[in-house]
Structure formats: structure tokens, C-alpha cells
């Protein structure tokens, strides 16, 4: 994140040196867009925070663990699609899951759905793309994520 912040700061300064008016317009535009999306963003973050609390590490281990069998894959796909867990939480969590006996195959399905499908962010996506497009895109991404996760699961199972 820090390189992007530095880059933005440099670009803004350079832009300001070349053309004050244009830069003011650019920054104003950016800030306005941010304000416009802020209420939806906050409410999505609130819902995600509550969901994240309800889906505890223990719960994940129980549902994704080896004893869960085929159900583990279904749980991984469902939990992965619904939650949006930022990477800095998701990867340490994934390595904990590995140590407690969750297989790489199940983790593949979990991580790919987590990344490609965002049921809870559909309200934000809909503001930009329309509700219908957001639903179709997430549905297709879900099918795609299952294909990726499934292929990886097969590779991990046999090799």
C-alpha cells in the first residue's frame, strides 16, 4: 500500500506544478466519488465485521477439517463466497488451518472463492455496475472459483 500512497503523492504534486486548476478538479472529483460511496461502504463493513465475528477460527476448523469429508468442500465454498476477509487476516488464518489438519485441497476452494466471489460486497458493486450485472458476475465467478478450486484440489489429492 505504501508505494501506491507515495506514487499518488508524487503524481499529485507533479500535476499541481503543471496545472493548478486541473489538479484541483481531479482531487475534488476523487473526494466526491469517495463521499458518495462512503455510506454503502460503511454499512457493508459493519455487516462483514459482525459476520466475521460469528465465523470464528474454531468454527472454521470444525467445518473445514478432515472429519468433515465432502462437506468440507461445500463449507469452504459457501464460507469463502460470503466472507470478505482481508489478505492480512486470511493468509495467517489459512496457515493455522493447515496446521490443524485442514487439507490443501479444501483450502484451495476456500481461498479461490474468498478472492473471486464477494456476496457481501454486491451492494457496492451494484452502485457501479447495476444489481443484475453484479449478481451475474458473482454467479459466474462462483462457478469459475469452484473450477479453479476443484482443479487444485485434484492436483493436491493426486500429486
Amino acid at each position: 500500500m505504501i508505494p501506491i500512497i507515495i506514487l499518488t503523492a508524487i503524481l499529485t504534486i507533479v500535476s499541481f506544478v503543471f496545472d493548478k486548476q486541473k489538479t484541483k478538479k481531479a482531487v475534488k472529483k476523487g473526494v466526491m466519488m469517495f463521499m458518495k460511496i462512503l455510506p454503502t461502504l460503511l454499512s457493508v463493513i459493519i455487516v462483514v465485521s459482525v459476520v466475521l465475528y460469528l465465523v470464528s477460527d474454531e468454527l472454521l476448523i470444525e467445518y473445514l477439517g478432515n472429519e468433515a469429508g465432502l462437506g468440507a468442500y461445500v463449507s469452504a465454498a459457501v464460507i469463502g463466497s460470503i466472507s470478505i476477509i482481508p489478505g492480512f487476516i486470511a493468509y495467517p488464518l489459512a496457515s493455522i488451518l493447515l496446521k490443524t489438519g485442514v487439507s490443501f485441497s479444501v483450502l484451495s476452494v476456500f481461498i479461490t472463492t474468498l478472492k473471486m466471489v464477494g456476496v457481501l460486497t454486491i451492494p457496492i458493486e451494484a452502485k457501479f455496475f447495476g444489481f443484475k450485472t453484479a449478481i451475474i458476475r458473482n454467479t459466474l465467478s462462483f462457478v469459475g472459483a469452484i473450477l479453479v478450486g476443484g482443479t487444485m484440489a485434484l492436483i493436491y489429492h493426486y500429486y
Binding site: 500500500m1 501506491i4 466519488m33 455510506p39 460503511l42 459493519i46 470478505i84 457501479f128 447495476g130 465467478s141
Partner: protein, 177 residues
Amino acid sequence: MWELYKKYKYDFPIIIAFIVFVLLSYFYNYNPGISIFEDNFWGFIKEMILALPVMFILVGLFDVWVSRERVQKHIGESSGIRGMMLIMLLAFIQAGPIYAAFPVAYILWKKGTSARNIFIYLSSASIAKIPMLAFEIGFLGLKFSLLRIFISIPIFIIVATIMGKYFTKNNCEVKNG
């Protein structure tokens, strides 16, 4: 005022209910409430409070400085494989959560990026941002990340192609948030 309420009719009640819930949690020392606020909500706020305004300012700068002709030529309708590679590269070097990619998608669309490339952009940004990738490799190993990315790319190109066709056929637009 009514317009504003209508636009965010689900958002305001959620926000107000959450504020009341957090205040009551602190007042009565209700631990789940405090944990939801301090561990989860605050973590997200920290993640987005810098990432998003920065992305939006970049979008604003892009809007005033980069011409439509230029964008169209490189990642527009007739940009082909080269356009696809360019848009993927743009997505991979991004940082921040997926919802930071939506405003970027809007400005790319406004400047004449093809619908298919818009959806390639969204998928790429969600599967493999380079800053996050280093993190992933550290925790899950190189094999896991490489497998995931190389299997994902052809699949999301297919998804993006379908989405692009749907988007163009129905005359959809990417809106300004």
C-alpha cells in the same frame, strides 16, 4: 434530503443501529460487541481509510490527464491480446481491497476501455495483487500461489468474455458510484 435517504435507504439504518449497538456494548461491557468493533470493524477502517481516498484521487488524476483516445487505443474494443495483457498488469500492481477496484473500473470505462477488459480488470484485481501475493507465498508456499494464478487466468478470461458480451448486448454502463 428525501433523495439522499432513498439512495441509502438500507445503509443509514445499519449505520445508526451499529452506532447504538457499539455504544451500548461499551456501556454494559458486552464483550462480543466490543470485539466486533475493535478487532473487526476498526481493522477494516484502518485498511480502507488510506487505500480508498488514495485510489479515488488517482482516479481523479487519471480522468483529467489521460485522453480518451489514448485509453481506447491501448485497452479499447480493438486492443486484442495486447490490451488484455496491459489491463491484467494494471490490475496486478494494484493494492487495497476489491471495492477499491470499482471506481477504477468506472474511470476506465468512461475513457473507452472495452467491456471485456473491464471485467478482466475486476477478476485480475481480485485474484492476484502483487503486494498480497508476496504475503500469500509466505504463508502458503510458492506452489499454491502459482497453481492458483495459472489455473485462474484462463477461467476468468472466459468469465470476462461472457460478461463483456452480456454487458455490450444489454447496453449496460458503469456508473459513477
